[in-house]
Subunit: 261 residues, 2 copies
């Protein structure tokens, strides 16, 4: 049963909105308590309240910036002695599209902090405890953008590729220890982060997924690692982007990115 | 001509041995002055002496750890007002193969420091100056390991994937500014780093390349970006590893890695 394999608590990093909030609701519906982490306290509390009213599980929130260098200590302090059997890392959405050289270094370092160092620290801390218990689940939410360099998204695409390869390795290394690891790749999804970036989703002819659909595919495919691309249309597109013909891949992604305005 | 497009100075990060030293010698032979950066002063000085005696160009060395957070300032101080028209980033070789959860976090952070933050800081600093001059060359040396998660190399493979996607994006963004950007992917190469890891290269039936061969392919294909895999046999292998069938890719890489002892 889900709660026995992945409970009693799930930590959802980036759980205040979008795909992360979808995961929080769906995991709670399985009877697993959820601890939600994100930067902004108010959206966190709104998701938490909604889950408390509907799912009958315990909900904790902690306002933590995933790019903080003391992430491990902050999470330890917030978690106390609860047993975290599942981690969903759904973070690092980009806030703007700017050429690499025109973006201040401190902003680039923040993107690295969330997608690279934050993920690494959190999985190192919580993965070790799962391994000792010989059960658990890890889902890292990535992006099709990680499949190839993409114009005005240099560090974002690079960070997403980092996430994918780290997670794929953990799938291999933790499988013998009873831990399910999944890299869940999202394509275009109707998230608040996309809306904040001003990216138009309607009228482009491209299929758009809902955050809850992406989360559901992740949970349904937890044992289909290392990597699952959400959406049949995205799985088709992935075949073209995951190719040794790197020029074709980069030109496809980057010309598409440049057309997004 | 090479020196007009990529001179008068080239900075080679990780220039004290292996593929980096190969680049340094070959670039110097084109009449471009070289500044070599690496952690250990003595191997750096040996390569520098050899180049001074044979190539008739200026050679500088600076002992800098590429994972240092003040990399930009250190490089500025070492470079002074010399004009760096080419950057070769050949760094981040792994020192040991250990499962992710069994490796101390500070060691993982050092791998991130070299492959992720160090590269990002250096290209941000020097790329901007190249763009202002509307000429230059950037070569980042990566690894086939970056194509898929690999057992006992979690952060290494992830860092190499980061390097690839960052470099691929820069290929797209800097091409209109007259700057050649190349991600050069090395397969198994007879480097001192491989020897230090105790990896047996002989008798495996796998082709092994020499560092100078890899460097030469990089220079020969500077205009064939975004990504060039060195060695025809490696280009064949890349076709299998760059695939949307991630389970096949990870199993191939990881079972191979586990057989390396």
């Amino acid at each position: 049963m889900f709660a026995e394999q992945y409970g009693p608590w799930a930590l959802i990093a980036g759980g205040s909105e979008g795909i992360g909030a979808g995961f929080a609701r769906k995991i709670a519906a399985h009877g697993v308590n959820v601890m939600l982490i994100a930067r902004k306290p108010q959206p966190l509390e709104e998701v938490a309240q909604q889950i408390r009213q509907t799912a009958g599980v315990q909900v904790r929130t902690a306002s933590i910036d995933l790019s903080t260098p003391d992430l491990t200590e902050r999470v330890r302090a917030a978690a106390g002695d609860i047993e975290i059997g599942m981690v969903v890392y759904n973070a690092g959405a980009e806030s703007k599209m700017v050429p690499f050289l025109d973006r201040p270094l401190d902003e680039l370092m923040r993107v690295i902090g969330v997608n690279v160092t934050g993920l690494t620290m959190l999985l190192h801390e919580l993965g070790a405890k799962m391994r000792a218990r010989r059960r658990g689940g890890i889902i890292v939410v990535g992006s099709m953008a990680g499949f190839a360099g993409g114009s005005r998204m240099a560090v974002y695409t690079a960070g997403k590729a980092y996430e994918q390869m780290l997670t794929e390795t953990l799938w291999w290394e933790l499988r013998p220890h009873g831990i399910d690891v999944l890299m869940l790749i999202a394509g275009t999804t109707r998230t608040p982060a996309m809306a904040r970036m001003g990216i138009k989703l309607e009228g482009t002819g491209q299929p758009v997924m809902e955050p809850d659909e992406v989360a559901q595919e992740g949970l349904d495919n937890l044992k289909n690692g290392p990597t699952w691309v959400a959406g049949a249309h995205n799985r088709e597109a992935a075949k073209f982007m995951c190719t040794a013909d790197r020029r074709a891949a980069v030109e496809m992604v980057s010309s598409g990115a440049d057309s997004m305005g």
